[in-house]
Amino acid sequence: MSTVKFSRRDFLKVAGLATGSVVLAACAQATPTKAPAAGEPTKAPAAKSPVKLTSNTQYWSPQAWPKSAALYRQLLKESGFEWLTIDYDTTDATTLETRMAAGDAPDILFVYPELAIPWAARKQLVPLTDKINADAEWKKDVEACIPSMNEGYTWKGQLYGVTIAGEAECYSYNPKQFEKKGVKKPSEIGKDAFNLAKFAEITQALTDGANDKPLGEKPSKGWIGGDLGYNSGFGDLLYAIGGKYFSEDGKKSLLNSKEFVETAAFVQKLVKDGWAANAIELTAQGEWHCLALANQRGASVIAGDWCWGWVHKTQLERKEFEPEMFFVPSGSAGRHPLAHSAGESIYAKTKNLDAALAYMKFAFTKKYQEATATTYEEAPRYPARHDAAGPILQKKLLPDFFPDLFKDSWASPVTPMINFMGILGYWGDTMKGVLAGTDTRPLQTIFDELNTRTQKDMDSAGAGLNI
């Protein structure tokens, strides 16, 4: 039997070679699967070859997510997708960007429109429109979705995502308070007559010192639209009088427009006069609910977000509050609620493009969206299409205006230049100064300054973009 001498030198050679190979392998870019050519319908991979997709979870509902994930897994199993499994991780948006820079993001990305559009502009997402147009079945499902939901994920004519949790703002009220104060309900006034002036009049009439103490303490002159974000009512008021946050192409900020300053003045007056309803509050138990539940008057809520689940779980059963809701009042430009949403997109460098496309196509179907709607209590959400809204959403939570909640809604404000969430901080600081009265400069001056800064941030962030 021959023996092989293995000297230290040989050992070092082998070890060096192996280490080098490992380093090279680790650094190598994985080759993504070839995308189907435009015009070629998207087909699921053969059932015999199981595929595992990765996806980041919805980090805004970590407690609820395991149940939702189990539901989706079951749904895939029952819908001919036995070959497809999805592994969820907890990567948040910031980490996702870092992972994208390293070419290592999950196959399916949980996104909001304000992230999807900047990411699409930076070529991190797979455009879907060509594939959809080539597949009649898929196209039909896409067309069944609420237009503003799709618009939220559309950039330069290409759709980049599917909505899995829709939101549109409205204001809720306690009918008993209206009766007590002898104030006509918005539904009695009529939709068209319920404008900004009427809204101010009603909030004034409903003001009740005795009930002005939510959560056992006096609010410090609450406000609506406190952070200028679409989640707090400001956007609806702004859109109602024809204003916008950004220009059509998303390159210019319009925060010092006549309409913007007018909206801020309207909100400021409500607050100053003590008529304003607060936006969303956090209860002692750490649960979301709208202030309407606490002060029994009325408040901004995000229909489709936590309020629904909370209202349904608690107040409907206790009969303390009926979540009748009314539209955001219309201004001269009509009612245009902001349709904010959360959705899913495909990462451009996925190694499983065919499977991801098959999953994405399925996500637009009524069946998938129905499953989404059933999770409203765990992770409240409105589906991307009305026909998938279950009876609870249709009859119990949205009795007044189903399916009109999203009528004439506009996609939430986005810009391809920058992550909108990144600038909300100083927008909020500015609005806080305006509403709390600490910034006493003329509103035009304040918003000129805000606009200049926002534009500067947008220009800097988008400097490398060729758009």
Partner: protein
């Protein structure tokens, strides 16, 4: 039978052999130390050099950088958000560093006494210092919660209304300092080691000279501890200026100032600029400016340390700077 002469290598060959062995020894040394220097090059030197370049560019992180010279540094001088974040950080540092040093010394002196269960007390004071910053930030987040935090509960017992510690920038810095003191155990353990290394002869000699407790502290303990305190101050400056995880976790969540800039510290703002605003180049410039500020502060402290830091060895050998 002839005896063959032993092979004697020529001097040249011997020299070549020695050189070869020496070279191989060096190669082996390099290979065995390669985990360190490869790691250093890949994960420290390269990122540092890359960040110098990136600080001179527009770079979003997702597309190629665009060179813009010193533009980011010029913009920094005129950025109110950066100035505010820096001001908040400095206020935090000015409040927390002396408090930490003082409290660290006091606790160390207390724990240097002869008492029962001393090791248990030392462990109790030191434990928070080794809790990961994210964990203790989460703990303080609960304690400082406006509605159900234990601090407001205790204030309520003495009829003080609840304070919105994490939702109102007026109180935020106080909350930072208060929570930061929780890790005073780190300074305490270093001070304790310093206290125990002070020769007892010095105390004995001072007592013979009639020194009281305060004089002992002033004339012996403090001078002998000054190098340790100096070290704590330097580390405190670096730590306070670079703090991120603690502030970041503490302020996250609705109802808190997570999105607001008013109570933001420098590193959290740097993160926001880089990772939320797609301005990695600008964030890199911010990081380098912070580096030079910390360097300048450290040099300043070193420069003035001659007036208050006492090195026994220098006195003995007659050394000095």
């Amino acid at each position: 039978m002839g005896v063959s002469a032993p092979s004697v290598a020529k001097p040249y060959d011997r020299m070549v052999g020695v050189r070869h062995r020496e070279r191989m020894r060096q190669v082996r040394g390099l290979l065995f130390s390669s985990p360190f220097w490869l790691g250093f090059l890949a994960f420290t030197a390269f990122p540092m050099l890359a960040s110098v370049y990136l600080s001179l560019t527009h770079y979003s992180g997702l597309e190629a950088p665009v060179f813009r010279g010193l533009g980011n540094y010029v913009d920094l001088l005129d950025d109110p958000a950066v100035v505010r974040a820096f001001r908040n950080t400095v206020i935090y540092a000015v409040l927390s560093i002396p408090l930490n040093a003082l409290l660290g010394l006091l606790v160390a002196i207390l724990l240097n006494q002869k008492a029962r269960g001393l090791s248990v007390w030392r462990s109790i004071y030191y434990l928070p210092a080794i809790v990961p910053s994210v964990a203790y930030a989460l703990l303080w987040k609960w304690m400082l919660n406006k509605e159900y935090g234990v601090i407001n509960f205790m204030l309520g017992l003495v009829k003080i209304p609840p304070v919105n510690w994490l939702g109102d920038e007026k109180y935020l810095l106080i909350a930072y300092v208060m929570a930061g003191l929780w890790t005073v155990g780190g300074a305490m353990i270093i001070n304790l080691a310093g206290l125990q290394s002070i020769p007892t002869e010095l105390y004995d000699a001072a007592k013979v000279d009639g020194a009281g407790k305060f004089a002992l502290f002033k004339a012996v303990t403090l001078p002998m501890m000054s190098p340790v305190l100096f070290y704590n101050v330097i580390m405190g400056i670096v730590g306070a200026m670079q703090s991120f995880a603690f502030f970041f976790v503490l302020t996250q969540g609705w109802g808190n100032v997570s999105y607001s800039e008013l109570g933001t510290v420098y590193m959290v703002h740097l993160w926001r600029v880089g990772f939320q605003l797609f301005r990695m180049g600008y964030a890199a410039a911010m990081a380098w400016v912070l580096f030079f500020i910390i360097l300048a502060l450290t040099l300043l402290v070193f420069r003035i340390s001659g007036r208050w830091v006492y090195y026994e060895s220098e006195w003995i050998t007659g050394g000095g700077r």
